[in-house]
């Protein structure tokens, strides 16, 4: 039984009539997912790839059992869409949309926590347990079934690393795209907790990037909790020029954290192996699995 998603997961797609929504509804169905309903305000009664469309999440949830909502609506409409899914009590909400205003992301995250809803994203590719199920937009065939758990802030780097592993015979138990934004729902720590007791996951690959403090928080959690599984981390952005910062407020709160170096050092101190290149991730996995 995979964590988060499996072959029984019943999915709702919000924004299903849009270009992205209809395309990925098709791809989800090709991956043998049960897409039970779609939502598009003002478009209720239509069908997309045979999936019935409703005006509201409430309406869809009244007619169908829904385990997860995949949200593909454009950023300006994400706040009401996500709030609808959370208020309808859908246990897993995945926000794919990028360029979500951070104030909206904070509001959504706050509400999800109040209601005990698992929120993934925004700005993510979603979640996949290869061969079992996906609630996301990743091309299924570059992922394969196996025992590596992946937690990543970057969508395309997850594709890259998973496909590199796949082509070399290493499959993945679950890949969680936590998203690259500042105010994401699930962070590294929450994802690590999910993998902690997952019997299907032997080795964990963490993919971070510059900005934010998620990797530093994960390093502290790993150290304090005596994390039991072998782990390798790759941090993108070592050669990125440092952005100019306005005012002192950011530095007061996070000091020197946020750089690739700070993240690598923090994780290294917590006993995580640091991969300097993407190929070093493959070498680590070959040795440890």
């Amino acid at each position: 039984m995979a964590v988060l998603v499996n072959d029984q997961t019943k999915v709702l797609i919000q924004g299903i009539t849009g270009k992205q929504g209809s395309y990925h509804a098709e791809k989800m169905l090709e991956y043998h997912m049960e897409v039970v309903a779609g939502v598009a305000p003002g478009r209720g009664g239509q069908r997309v790839s045979g999936v019935p469309v409703y005006h509201t999440v409430q309406e869809a949830a009244a007619k169908h059992t829904v385990d997860a909502s995949l949200i593909l609506v454009p950023a300006p409409f994400i706040l009401p869409a996500a709030m609808e899914a959370i208020d309808a009590g859908i246990p897993l909400v995945v926000l794919i949309t990028e360029h979500v205003p951070v104030h909206d992301a904070m509001k959504i995250r706050n509400r999800a926590r109040e209601k005990g809803i698992r929120l993934v994203g925004p700005n993510t590719i979603g979640v996949i347990s290869p061969g079992k199920g996906k609630v996301g937009i990743m091309p299924g065939y570059i992922y394969s079934e196996g025992r590596i758990g992946i937690i990543s802030r970057s969508g395309t780097l997850t594709h890259e690393i998973s496909s590199n592993l796949t082509y070399r015979g290493f499959g993945q138990s679950t890949c969680i795209g936590i998203g690259g934004d500042l105010a994401v729902g699930m962070d590294f720590v929450e994802a690590l907790e999910i993998f902690r007791n997952d019997e299907e996951t032997d080795v964990i690959v963490m993919i971070g990037e510059i900005g934010g403090v998620g990797e530093e928080m994960a390093a502290e959690y790993i150290r304090k909790s005596g994390y039991p599984k072998p782990m390798v981390a790759y941090i993108a952005g070592l050669t990125a020029p440092e952005g100019k910062k306005m005012g002192h407020a950011g530095a007061i709160v996070s000091g020197n954290m946020g750089s690739a170096k700070s993240k690598m050092e923090a994780l290294h101190k917590s006993g995580v192996t640091i991969a300097n290149t993407l190929d070093e991730i493959l070498k680590y996995v070959e040795k440890n699995q």
């Binding site: 509001k107 993108a236 000091g255």
Partner: protein, 383 residues
């Protein structure tokens, strides 16, 4: 979007936060006019986004007409950081009794807005926060609610500061919290917040940053598009097309294009790791069109002295066929001697590969980013 001081202050004013009297000018005569209107000693402040303004001599006090002219001439045309001074803010010189710090930002640990206050404001606030964290009060603000409990800040102020200041500060904190929520700010900072000899609290400076992702609903702020004054042509075109493009140092001779910020960073990192010099960062983003891809290639290829280019994309939220078509269109216009390697897989990969194969472009289909980078570097060396 970073706001200039005068823009931030005009937004402060809309929310009722008191600011010094004054306005901007780009003419010496304009500066003198403002000085005459105010009828008191002035401060001339270079309007740049860089934080090193004070130390670079971009702020001058003037008490006479001659001093205003002299200060204007010294500041105008200065370069601070890499920014040219184009506008100068001329405003009344405040009678400063005390300097405080009041600021808001988004706390990356809490993932919530944070309000911060200190009785010791000014340039050394970061040092103070590090060495004497007890002197800085931080309050988490609920992102879904506008009411905030300020009691911790009020307790800090102490008895020597009378009720009048407390009332003013309470009002100002409410105004700042409202501004922060309503303008989609990610930083809103008043440093210093000045207590004048007359007992008034005035925002002597402003540092305001508005979330780029929220600009679609912040048109009322009238942040005229001046940010591109220091951008080159390529940056302007990339911005207009919604491509995240950052030119790197002059000597870089390997162009990079990738889909997704993480992969774009990793591609640059790999070029550098194996001894190449990346020329730029370019993330085409999600939902990329043929036009965006074509222009991305043209913008990156336009750099002088560019030897080679690596394109590293996935068909995830993007489509390989669409991207290949864009690349194909651009190739008619770029220098034929430029060495190109494309790594591409994902949705519609077969269609994408076939378009590029007709052009004879080397494609990395199943290999890693590093294999693609190594292939590019060996081709540059003529191997």
């Amino acid at each position: 979007m970073d706001c200039f001081e005068y823009e931030g202050k005009s937004i402060f004013m809309r929310y009722g936060i008191p600011i010094p009297q004054g306005r901007i000018t780009d003419q010496q005569k304009g500066a003198v006019d403002i000085f005459n209107e105010l009828g008191k000693p002035c401060v001339l402040k270079a309007q740049v986004l860089s934080g090193k303004r004070g130390k670079a001599g971009g702020i001058k006090i003037a008490e006479t007409r001659e001093e205003v002219e002299e200060a204007f001439d010294m500041i105008s045309g200065m370069e601070i950081g890499e920014e040219k001074v184009r506008r100068i803010l001329v405003e009344e010189k405040l009678d400063i009794k005390e300097e405080f710090y009041l600021g808001m930002t988004i706390d990356p640990f809490l993932k919530a807005p944070l309000l911060m206050f200190s009785l010791e404001g000014g340039m050394d606030i970061e040092e103070l926060a590090e060495k004497h964290p007890e002197k800085l009060v931080k309050i988490k603000v609920n992102p879904n609610a506008s009411t905030v409990d300020y009691s911790e800040i009020l307790a800090k102020i102490g008895l020597e500061n009378k009720d009048k200041m407390k009332d003013q500060l309470l009002r100002m904190m409410d105004q700042l919290v409202t501004l922060f929520h309503e303008t989609d700010a990610t930083t809103a900072e008043i440093n210093p917040l000045v207590l004048t000899g007359q007992g008034e609290l005035i925002a002597a400076d402003s540092k305001l940053v508005i979330d780029d992702s929220a600009m679609f609903r912040q048109k009322d702020l009238n942040l005229e598009d001046r940010r591109d004054e220091d951008q080159d042509e390529g940056e302007k075109r990339a911005e207009a097309l919604g491509l995240a493009f950052v030119p790197l140092d002059e000597t870089g001779d390997i162009g990079t294009i990738a889909g997704g910020a993480g992969l774009a960073l990793a591609t640059m990192d790999a070029v550098r790791y194996y001894g190449g010099k990346p020329a730029n960062f370019l993330d085409v983003g999600g939902g990329v069109t043929e036009e965006q891809m074509r222009e991305a290639v043209r913008i990156v290829a336009a750099k002088k002295g560019l030897k080679a280019m690596i394109i590293n994309v996935f068909g995830g939220i993007n489509n390989c066929e669409t991207m290949a078509k864009g690349i194909d269109q651009a190739l008619d216009e770029v220098d034929k001697s430029m060495i190109l390697v494309v790594k591409m897989r994902g949705h519609s990969q077969e269609e994408g590969w076939s378009i590029l194969e007709k052009r004879g472009i080397p494609i990395v289909k199943h290999g890693t980013t590093e294999e693609a980078v190594k292939m590019l570097l060996s081709r540059i060396r003529g191997e």
